[in-house]
């Protein structure tokens, strides 16, 4: 699995993905690590099948006793079905996830993980030094859904928003937005259910200072591409399956 530092100051953001060992039929995912002193949080740690690769990639950056927290943007298996494995090797690990999904996500473990529910309105936490905000992104696409915003690094981890279905080995960053948007169109039109939710999210996200928007599939948006994405998404009609 490829790892790359995307922010490297007093603490680090690292992206892991493009796993060559991943079984072919499962969707490719990006996992993010925030390493902050003796604490490390994994954002959307992924499914069971890629656990070994994610664990190895994480441990190439930090020690096992420093893996302290997990974050799940929503309840999908590609997000958090590895929970039982993490919980087994690190029994006191914390999982931050949407409150409304707690009883569901616990099915991915033996049930006794330390689950810290994020209320619908959102919340925040301090890892060791960095403050992370859990920004509501409900119905994008799950009914309880959060993104992670780091105001210091100016990074927004945007879960399935901004996702693209890419060929294996695609670059980490968007290099040509016009070309890239075609890889996102179907995903957003079909998986995102609500234009109202989309507009509300865009309005709130436009108020944030963002250098990088990091989705769970596909490529990272940098600088002006973040704004380009928001404009493109705003104009896109979503929830299309309802039209038949």
């Amino acid at each position: 699995m490829k790892t790359q530092k995307i922010y490297d100051e007093n603490y680090q953001w690292i992206v892991m993905g493009r796993d060559p060992d991943k079984p072919e039929k499962i969707i490719d995912t990006n996992q993010y690590i925030i390493r902050d002193g003796k604490k490390t949080m994994l954002l959307d740690p992924g499914g069971i099948e890629i656990f070994s690769s994610v664990l190895a990639a994480t441990l190439s950056e930090t020690n096992i006793e420093n893996i302290t927290d997990l974050f799940a943007s929503h309840q999908d298996p590609d997000i958090i079905s590895s929970l039982g494995l993490w919980n087994e090797i690190i029994p006191d690990i914390n999982l931050y996830g949407p409150s409304i999904w707690e009883g569901f996500i616990r099915h991915f473990s033996s049930g006794d993980v330390n689950y810290i529910g994020i209320p619908d309105a959102g919340s925040s936490m301090v890892l060791e030094t960095v403050e992370l905000q859990f920004i509501p992104a409900h119905y994008l696409h799950a009914s309880g859904n959060f993104h992670v915003y780091d105001a210091t690094a100016k990074i927004l981890m945007s879960g399935d928003v901004g996702a693209a279905l890419e060929s294996p080995g695609a670059p980490i960053f968007v290099d040509d937005f016009n070309e890239h948007k075609e890889k996102m169109r179907m995903f957003h039109r079909r998986w995102m259910p609500s234009n109202d939710a989309k507009i509300d999210w865009i309005r709130r996200v436009r108020d944030l200072d963002i250098n990088m928007m990091c989705p769970q599939h596909g490529r990272i948006f940098k600088g002006d591409d973040v704004k380009r994405f928001l404009d493109w998404f705003e104009a896109l009609d979503v929830g299309v399956a309802i039209h038949g």
């Binding site: 664990l55 190895a56 096992i64 494995l85 090797i89």
Partner: protein
């Protein structure tokens, strides 16, 4: 390597599930015994003084059936515990397999980052768990033996009831049928128990 370990876990789980299924069959049979006993009681009542010797026998058969049902209920509680043990064990084996894959990828780094020690920890938990598992399955084995004692009593009473039936005059053949039903049911339970014991003893052997 991983798949071998997974197999072991899956076999444990399957064995316990088979025992549970067989015990379920035992409760059915013991209900049938109880019904036969009640039937015999009714026949004996109609036979009046001719079948006086039959009353305590039917009561006894009914008691045996009740005892077996109670024992099976007890064993089921243990078997349920055993089956969640088996599932947890299978999960742990899978986890260890996956963590070992990461260890292989990490090479020497696995020692420095604490993963090698973590694997040792997981393996020792697995060992402790297997000892506990073995203990629990011997408990179930013991309880199965207890049922066998009950069955021996039932067999003896079947012989006695055949003798008593001969004194029941017109009702002799009716009572003989009942005695036969009970003795067949007892045989069936014996068969089922034999299979259950086999399942469990395989587990105990595999543990070593």
């Amino acid at each position: 390597m991983v798949s071998e370990e997974m197999d072991e876990g899956a076999k444990q789980f399957l064995a316990v599930a088979s025992v549970q299924a067989e015990l379920f069959a035992v409760t059915h049979i013991s209900k049938r015994i109880s019904l036969s006993a009640k039937n015999a009681k009714a026949i004996a009542a109609r036979a009046g003084s001719q079948a006086l010797g039959f009353h305590p026998i039917t009561d006894f058969i009914d008691d045996v059936a009740t005892n077996i049902t109670l024992l099976v209920e007890e064993i089921n509680v243990d078997a349920l515990r055993l089956s969640s043990f088996a599932i947890a064990n299978r999960n742990r084996m899978k986890t260890i397999g996956r963590v070992k894959d990461a260890q292989e990828t990490l090479g020497l780094r696995a020692d420095d980052c604490g993963l090698t020690n973590k694997i040792k920890e997981l393996e020792s938990t697995k060992e402790k768990f297997l000892i506990e598992y073995g203990r629990k399955s011997s408990d179930v084995l013991e309880a199965l033996t207890e049922i066998r004692t009950q069955l021996q009593a039932a067999e003896m009473i079947c012989t006695t009831s055949r003798t008593e039936a001969t004194r029941a005059g017109d009702f002799q053949s009716n009572l003989e049928v009942v005695a036969e039903e009970v003795s067949q049911a007892v045989m069936q339970i014996k068969d089922v128990l034999q299979t259950s014991k086999l399942h469990l003893s395989q587990l105990t052997v595999r543990r070593r």
